[in-house]
């Protein structure tokens, strides 16, 4: 196992984060703070409690998930797309490192960044709402697994993308709508029955629901389903990446 290679990629990617601090960390934290102000404080003060939780507090897990999902995907997809774009991918392909090691370097760095942002947003939330976390360990487990699995997904998007437009395509057209429609800002029980049924096909619902359960002990779907969904997604992404490196799809001529 070439752990030195994993560490080299990880440090290189993290160095980029700290070199572009405003873009990497300050910007997503600022946008989330704006969500708190608009939805939590301004509009939320006019909304009744949701299942015994103030609306401002209720949206915290959803907001963290929204940011963590998009940041995980953005960080990992850019991390691997940029070497492809500028041509430095030759170095990765000719290095004595396996697909697992290269993926680990990029995905761990992307997940670390997303995790940092998620925790900063959580800390920011305390400035706006009163919050207690019912299952803190599970909260960390859900957060870490989400960061990892969506960084893997982002890594696949980065390999798949042939240009910057494609790089943005899936996060903008698929992930963001799925998060918004996955109960980030509402409980599924607030929807009409027909829409409740349709929402059950949204995979992000299971992540948001499980994460919200770790905060308030309540969930739209059983927490076990959330755990199965997140592990299933993780395994599917790993299998796809293994296939990509074995076949060289979009990497090797």
């Amino acid at each position: 196992m070439n752990l030195t290679a994993v560490a080299a990629i990880y440090k290189f990617e993290m160095a980029r984060t700290f070199r572009t601090l405003a873009q990497s960390i300050v910007s997503p934290v600022l946008s989330t703070a704006l969500y708190f102000i608009v939805f939590g404080t301004a509009i939320g003060s006019r909304i009744e409690q949701v299942e015994g939780v103030s609306y401002g507090a209720f949206i915290v897990p959803g907001l963290i998930m929204l940011t963590v999902l998009t940041q995980s995907i953005a960080n990992a997809s850019f991390g691997i797309y940029f070497p492809k774009f500028i041509g430095t991918i030759y170095e990765l392909l000719s290095a004595p490192a396996s697909f697992l090691e290269i993926t680990a370097g990029y995905v761990l760095a992307a997940a670390t960044k997303a995790l940092m942002i998620g925790l900063i947003i959580l800390a920011t939330a305390y400035f706006f709402v009163e919050l207690t976390i019912a299952h803190p360990i599970w909260m960390i487990v859900f957060l870490v697994l989400t960061c990892l699995s969506f960084s893997l997904f982002g890594f696949i998007i980065g390999i798949w993308a042939k240009n910057f437009e494609q790089l943005q395509l899936i996060p903008l057209l698929a992930v963001t709508p799925l998060v918004f429609l996955g109960g980030a800002f509402y409980s599924v029980s607030m929807l009409p029955p027909a829409w409740q049924g349709i929402t059950m096909f949204n995979p992000v619902l299971y992540l948001v629901s499980g994460f919200r359960w770790s905060f308030f002990g309540m969930a739209d779907v059983p927490v076990g389903w959330s755990i199965v969904a997140i592990f299933g997604f993780l395994i599917a992404c790993l299998a796809a990446i293994a296939w990509i490196f074995r076949t060289g799809w979009r990497l090797r001529a």
Partner: protein, 310 residues
Amino acid sequence: MTAILSVDRLTKTYAGGFTALDDVSLDIREGEILALLGPNGAGKTTLISTVCGITQATSGHVTVGGHDTITAYRAAREMIGLVPQEINLEPFEKVINTVRFSRGLFGRPRDDAYLEKILRQLSLWDKKDEPIRSLSGGMKRRVLIAKALSHEPRVLFLDEPSAGVDVELRRDMWAVVRQLQEDGVTIILTTHYIEEAETMADRIAVINGGRILLVEEKAALMRRMGRKEMRIELKEPVTRIPSALADFGLTLEAEGTRLVYSYDRQASRTGIVRLLSALQETGLTVADVETRQSSLEEIFVGLVTERQSA
């Protein structure tokens, strides 16, 4: 000398059906500089990319230091350094960080003293904290060499290292390559500058249409295929070659003031004495006589053209 790199019946056919490498076999000896020559699209870069693992071969095998590049890719790749043709570098990164990254990627522990040595050798030490985008083209190319050397490879591929580099820097680079060879590094060089191959290489391999046309010691190749020419400068121009000289296959150049005689230096009779006697009989006045050896470029062009027309 033993082979450090063996290419055995390597074929690469792309999805569109184009065969870039066609049954290529080649042994590269430890410590030598081999110049791989070929016109554009001959298969030089594909061969390098396949050996380094960037491109997947359709069939065939490659071993580096006895390690198969597929089944023992880690051991094989640890021995290889690659300087690509294009200047592929992360523009915002500092020189030292990108070189350090390359060393780590190849599984070597951090060694700042070694990196300082190679950066000094490449006259990059003063620029180590500069972002790459601020460097000149020649310096960027040297950063690529520093990255390729960062993990102390035993085999170094230099794919067109002098492309876009000025004459002075090119000569500096040749000095670096010579030093690397003295340090025991085996070097495979592809180049469009035949002068570079002529100056640097121990052996020459010519590739065209995905096939290796020849692999030979440079000196032996130039002896074997190089023609000698005798140029006879005349005081007065002539309009045609005198009939007394018709048997010598002369060509008339420089508006009738130069006769050129090509001969084989290895032949038992070169015909020079006979030509000079015949020349005296014609009554032409000779201003000067010089001989010259045909260059590697002429040999290369002749070889490629000959195979293409065959």
